[in-house]
Subunit: 249 residues, 2 copies
């Protein structure tokens, strides 16, 4: 990737190793303090990007700002969303909610040009699909991502338990088992085709260790499509003029 | 409550007002740095207490320790669980995972006597019911609580959409609509009967603003049962000898 012998990179291996490799070999885009993992979550209206979903346990206000910028570029270019709505994941919608860092992030996002910031969002707003990009630190994002999957699978098991309870139920359930399975399929965030690690200097995608052939196929399509767009160039342009205010940690 | 003219307090009003009242009028139990909201979440095995679910956006390691202690006392006494398993909500099971505060909390919980600490837990462990008490800061806890509800309701809507899709589905769904509704009913955490605010000097319970008569009835039962147990006394005893190491904020 660094020597331009490939345009895109995809791996189902260890996330830590993938990121370390991406950071050390490929490097960060100049001006970006911390790259982030950015999976898609299913919502009532479609999909929402969650950024960061686990690379940075604690974040500075600057990081939230940059996540909003790179997330917006990605959603605008890859999903053709004109002005991606960016929400800050918080415990209430009022401006003064949350920790000190999150409140400061709110201030920075409000003042930021080029990003369509809609304010704080709560859990319900996330599942309602109120925004296209949900910004948070990696600790919160990782928990949200894992809860989405695990609550989905918990309910799936519960529903299927009811479907299989007796012969009547099993017979009746045959009418919509396929629809129900498809609905829950949305909760496997990897089925959208790999999760981009945004902010490194080249398209890098992460897949599940136990990904199916179909999922890997989709991820590769996604990685190819990423490489053929101007996402990386836009990110480079966006941050080339930005003064990096904080020292990278 | 303060003047012992009532044994327990329950309100469906504003949480902030309820807590402020509880803190200023009733006061904290001596030695407890920060009281916490402690709802019950449905899991594959039953219920798990989530503490803190929103009173303290940021917490010190000491707070996690005290949440573990008061949560254990409550679960042991109210739910007759011999040695309540306490888990620390984190982004991985390894000891070195998470933010600095969470890692320090891990160390304190490991060294703590009288609490059955099982280590870090992730989203899946929570829905699997791996522990009886899940400890976290109020920012994370509030998000988890709201996501539980909103993902539950999102899936409920999705499933009911499929059930009502056409006449065949509607007919077939009649076989198990009741079971499905009961299953999702578990996701309304208030249906367990009010959420205790633990750490204030008297039993205080919080209900939803839009709670049904049935829910309020259950909450009142719960508040009465709390008052008739030794939970408050045990908490007082537990912290009366504890040196308060940090200054209350």
């Amino acid at each position: 990737l660094k020597n331009k012998q490939t345009d895109s990179f995809f791996s189902c291996g260890n996330t830590g190793a993938l990121l370390t490799g991406a950071m050390l070999i490929t490097g960060r885009i100049k001006g970006i303090d911390r790259p982030a993992l950015a999976p898609m979550l299913p919502t009532k209206r479609g999909m929402t990007m969650l950024i960061d979903a686990g690379l940075n346990s604690s974040c500075k206000p600057l990081n939230y700002e940059q996540f909003a910028q790179i997330g917006s570029i990605y959603m605008r270019t890859m999903y053709k969303i004109d002005k991606p709505k960016v929400g800050l994941l918080n415990v209430g919608t009022e401006e003064n909610k949350g920790t000190e860092v999150v409140r400061e992030a709110y201030g920075r996002l409000s003042a930021l040009g080029g990003v369509n910031f809609i304010g704080n969002i709560e859990g319900r707003d996330l599942t309602d699909g109120k925004c296209d990009v949900a910004v948070c630190d990696g600790f919160v994002g990782n928990l949200v991502l894992k809860l989405y999957e695990s609550i989905g699978s918990y309910i799936f098991d519960g529903i299927y338990g009811i479907f299989g309870k007796n012969a009547f139920n099993r017979l009746a359930a045959a009418f919509f088992k396929k629809d129900v399975r498809n609905f829950f399929g949305k909760f496997d965030y990897e089925s959208y085709g790999g999760t981009p690690i945004l902010g490194v200097d080249g398209p890098v995608f992460k897949g599940h260790g136990n990904a199916s052939a179909k999922t890997v196929m989709k991820a590769i399509e996604c990685a190819v499509s990423f490489a053929s767009t101007s996402v990386q160039k836009q990110m480079r342009d966006c941050f080339s003029t930005a003064a990096v205010e904080d020292e990278p940690r």
